[in-house]
């Protein structure tokens, strides 16, 4: 008898239809009478852990061990969804050229951050919720990882860093650290950023950039409130922004303001 049959026997599961997924859950609103329910369309069985007595629960461990012993993974739902999404993503080749390009020329930790950021970008394009993915990158790689994630999503690796390396490896070596550590090329406006910080960051970053011949900076914003904040900032600090040539790109809920030093 395999683990599956043992589990069915233990819980008295009398389903003869296929079961692809057994999901262990709590009956939080106490709406279920039995120990499980079965969704035929999804071929999914919900097993209510809180409906099992202690003796039955004790007997789950050896069944889980047998299940794990076959090479299976016992995963939390969101983790499972993300892992299977990654399995599908790994079969795609779209981002391989950029990864192959940067792997030999940037630190390994930056490469790992870039790798994760490219997946995040794909999720962003599909309009999926990327907040946890972004947090994960920052948790693992700190502010540097956060910068890489922002720069990657905005296309700076392909549009700026790749051509820069192809143009001059020397320049790339000089500028890469600056760009990734200080994110000098751009400001990414977020919900918690006060208006004054936008101009303060522009001034700070331009100070650094000018020394290296970079005479532009981009302001990025996603979402209606961030777009409004950027526009308010430019209107409010008119004198400051008059020193720049401004080019705006706005589409749906994304804005990019390019500031070029006159």
């Amino acid at each position: 008898m395999n683990w599956f049959d043992k589990l069915k026997k233990l819980i008295h599961i009398e389903i003869n239809s296929p079961i692809i997924n057994i999901n262990i859950i709590k009956d939080s609103d106490n709406s279920t009478i039995g120990k499980y329910d079965y969704d035929e369309t999804k071929e999914k069985l919900n097993l209510y852990l809180d409906k099992l007595d202690d003796k039955t629960k004790e007997q789950l461990n050896p069944i889980f061990q047998e299940y794990l012993g076959e090479g299976n993974k016992l995963l939390e739902n969101e983790t499972s969804e993300l892992l299977y999404s990654l399995y599908r993503y790994n079969k795609e080749t779209k981002n391989r050229p950029i990864l192959n390009f940067f792997k030999p020329i940037i630190p390994i930790e930056d490469f790992r951050a870039l790798e994760a950021s490219l997946y995040l970008r794909e999720s962003f394009i599909k309009k999926e919720d990327i907040r946890k993915l972004k947090r994960d990158i920052k948790d693992r790689f700190g502010n540097r990882g956060n910068n890489i994630s922002n720069l990657c999503t905005a296309g700076y690796f392909e549009e700026f860093l790749m051509p820069l390396h192809n143009y001059s490896r020397d320049q790339f070596t000089k500028l890469y650290e600056l760009i990734v550590l200080n994110a000098v090329l751009a400001i990414f406006v977020h919900k918690q950023m006060p208006l004054e910080e936008i101009t303060s960051q522009i001034k700070k970053k331009l100070e650094i950039s000018k020394r290296y011949g970079i005479k532009f900076i981009h302001i990025h914003g996603i979402g209606k409130s961030n777009i409004a904040k950027i526009k308010n900032c430019i209107a409010y600090e008119k004198k400051f922004f008059d020193f720049f040539e401004k080019n705006n790109y706005e589409k749906e809920d994304i804005i990019i303001v390019e500031l070029l030093l006159k």
Binding site: N2, W3, D5, I22, L49, L68, N77, E78, L86, E115
Partner: protein, 83 residues
């Protein structure tokens, strides 16, 4: 209908039963919110990357002396490449 065998069935769990799953597997949570062995609270469990893991980070488990999986994107990218 033909019944699927265990090879095709996977087990998942909801966030709400994380602690219960750990308890079933003989694990506990220490005062630092890290997952430890129930029989030896000093012994912290490790992920496949050799790291300690908190209840919040707990994403699952795989075989090989019960190797734990973090629910972090970067960890899962590494895991997804292992055959």
């Amino acid at each position: 209908m033909v019944e699927r065998n265990s090879i095709n069935t996977n087990i998942t769990f909801d966030k709400s039963v994380k602690k219960d799953i750990l308890a079933l597997l003989g694990k506990d949570i220490n005062e630092d919110n890290l997952i430890v062995e129930k029989t030896d609270l000093e012994q912290k469990v490790l992920t496949f990357e050799g790291e300690e893991i908190s209840l919040e980070e707990f994403g699952g488990i795989q075989k090989g002396s019960e190797v734990f999986i973090k629910n972090n994107l970067v960890s899962l990218i590494k895991l997804s490449k292992k055959v």
